[in-house]
């Protein structure tokens, strides 16, 4: 076959599907190109991989909570979720996630606003994009180190505040290694995540809308309250939920920072996995994991609903 044959073949395709010669996939010969069995076999590696390393672990994590150590079915672990200690752990996980998500989304949205009108490919933007991607990923051990160096008991800032104005941020005890410290540290990766997720939405605001607002005698204030905010709201609250999920599921930072006890759920899962005797109940890790998944599913469902609304304006 030579290049000269190509137009004939292409016109052949066009004849068989006169309405949508290119975009309609069902009518093209390429469907017949791979034999039926071969193309289904092509899906096998990924399917097997995902079943073994995502499907089975997820099911195991959720289901183990329903079994006792000897393999018999029980609701004891699930009932253990109602234990006051466990409930208060879920509560502090909730508050740490909610507060850092709110601070992160507001500050992040302000940064996005500040970036409006800068050139998308410019040096400032690509620097902030990359820095945000790194810092949003910058959880864990390294982040804990950064904050011990920055506002730990021996840090320059803390010593300087104490020496110059006599202000001791740790006068009531060193809160950095407690849930209060997590608020400060988590905010550090929440803001960059907000910048990454919210900036595309803010850029979707069309200049025509501002022009229409001006033509109809609107002010800057009416533009933001009547046009921009309603359009951006689903995306903003969607990002807020994503930030909440991000903090709620974060483990490494807390593991490296919190010195005593298990004040948040992921640390409680660690305690259950490592000691196996937390609260005197086996397989408690599974029950805690189930509790986390329930919260995550609700939050991510809300996120996808809001995402659906967002995409309406991003055509």
């Amino acid at each position: 076959m030579t290049v000269a044959n190509a137009p004939v073949l292409v016109s052949g395709v066009a004849e068989s599907s006169p309405q949508h010669p290119i975009t309609e996939p069902a009518s093209s010969p390429r469907r017949r190109a791979l034999s039926g069995l071969a193309k289904y076999l092509g899906l096998a590696p990924f399917t097997i991989y995902v079943v073994i390393f995502l499907g089975i672990p997820t099911v195991l994590a959720i289901v183990t909570g329903f079994f006792a150590e000897d393999g018999s079915f029980t609701f004891a672990n699930i009932a253990g979720l109602a234990d006051p200690l466990v409930l208060s752990t879920f509560a502090s996980s909730f508050w740490v996630s909610a507060i850092t998500a709110i601070i992160g989304s507001v500050v992040g949205a302000l940064v996005c606003y500040a970036l409006l009108g800068t050139r998308a490919g410019g040096a400032l933007r690509s620097f902030i994009d990359s820095a945000s991607s790194v810092l949003a990923q910058f959880g864990g051990v390294m982040l804990a180190f950064a904050f011990i160096a920055a506002i730990g008991g021996q840090s320059l800032l803390v010593l300087w505040l104490k020496d110059t104005i006599g202000f001791d941020i740790y006068a009531d005890g060193v809160w950095l290694y407690q849930p209060a410290g997590l608020l400060v540290v988590y905010t550090y990766f929440q803001v960059p995540l907000m910048i990454i997720t919210f900036l595309p939405a803010l850029e979707g605001l069309k200049t025509q809308w501002a022009e229409a607002n001006a033509t109809l005698g609107g002010t800057r204030f009416t533009y933001w309250t009547k046009i921009a905010f309603p359009v951006l709201a689903p995306s903003f609250f969607g990002s807020l939920l994503l930030l909440f999920a991000n903090a709620f599921s974060s483990y490494a930072t807390a593991a490296a920072l919190v010195s005593q006890g298990s004040p948040i759920v992921p640390l409680q899962i660690r305690a259950a996995l490592v000691s196996e005797t937390v609260l005197g109940r086996e397989n408690m890790a599974g029950a805690l994991a189930l509790g986390m998944v329930v919260v995550m599913v609700i939050v991510m469902w809300g996120y996808s609903v809001l995402q659906g609304r967002t995409s309406r304006w991003q055509k």
Partner: protein
């Protein structure tokens, strides 16, 4: 309705300073001379002494393990995820939503939950494939799934893969040729971005390695941090710099494409 110059630089300035501060604090910390308040280069020069390789043996093991894991994880993305995404795009358009759903599950099922179920799975993996560190990459392939998926999918959506592969087939190329000579060159940007973000995620991973008792960069950093915080922070800084360069180059990939000879 863009912000005024003053507003823009006020916001960026304040947030920038606050966010740069912990990084500078880390840098300052690596030059500290104990608790004396003075500064010294000893912690940096100490890395180049003959003893360093022995003193920080665990740390270097962790770095080696993490680099190996990064390579194997990228391999999984390229060999398992990428062909599947192309296949679904070309042959099973109806499965696109299913694939997307599967690929973002790891966001909803975070590592700390997954690890509860991974522990029993890995006790089988160890029996089948041995306890070598590289097997951990199977779990990391799942961790990076949402990031790698998004990077590749963005590229798939931007290129008319269907027409390209039809053109290739029309010109009598077999599927292997189409994949290698037509599709991959067009998907280079997405594939590179997916690989880079996977490397960055793997180098930062702590949860799974720590709870399955494996040694990687992050678990080693935490361990070293207890005896020699200066060296731990030096390596944390280097890892951070490396990740920043990786992600900055993803941004540059996007730009060279726009200005390049696409037409």
């Amino acid at each position: 309705m863009n912000p005024s110059k003053t507003t823009r630089w006020l916001i960026l300035g304040v947030v920038g300073v606050v966010f740069a501060f912990p990084i500078f604090a880390m840098i300052e910390f690596t030059f500290r001379d104990g608790l004396s308040g003075g500064h010294t280069l000893d912690h940096w020069t100490g890395l180049f002494t003959e003893d360093a390789a022995r003193t920080y043996r665990n740390l270097f093991t962790g770095i080696g393990n993490s680099l190996l894991l990064a390579v194997v994880t990228v391999g999984i993305v390229l060999v398992v995820l990428l062909p599947t995404m192309i296949l679904v795009h070309l042959q099973f358009p109806k499965l696109k939503r299913v694939l997307e759903f599967v690929c973002i599950i790891p966001i909803t099922v975070p590592a700390i939950v997954l690890v509860v179920g991974l522990a029993p799975v890995y006790s089988v993996v160890v029996q089948v494939a041995g306890g070598s560190i590289w097997t951990l990459a199977f779990a990391y392939g799942i961790t990076v799934l949402p990031y790698a998926y998004r990077a590749i999918q963005a590229n798939l959506d931007a290129v008319d893969v269907v027409t390209l592969s039809e053109a290739g087939r029309t010109l009598s190329a077999n599927w292997g040729r189409v994949l290698w000579h037509v599709l991959l060159p067009n998907l280079k940007r997405g594939v590179l971005a997916a690989s880079f973000i996977s490397v960055a995620v793997v180098l930062g991973e702590f949860t799974i390695a720590s709870l399955l008792n494996r040694v990687n960069l992050q678990t080693a950093l935490l361990q070293v941090g207890q005896s020699d915080p200066y060296v731990a922070i030096i390596f944390a800084l280097l890892a951070l710099l490396f990740a920043f360069v990786l992600l900055l180059s993803i941004g540059r990939l996007g730009r060279t494409r726009r200005t390049g000879s696409e037409s």
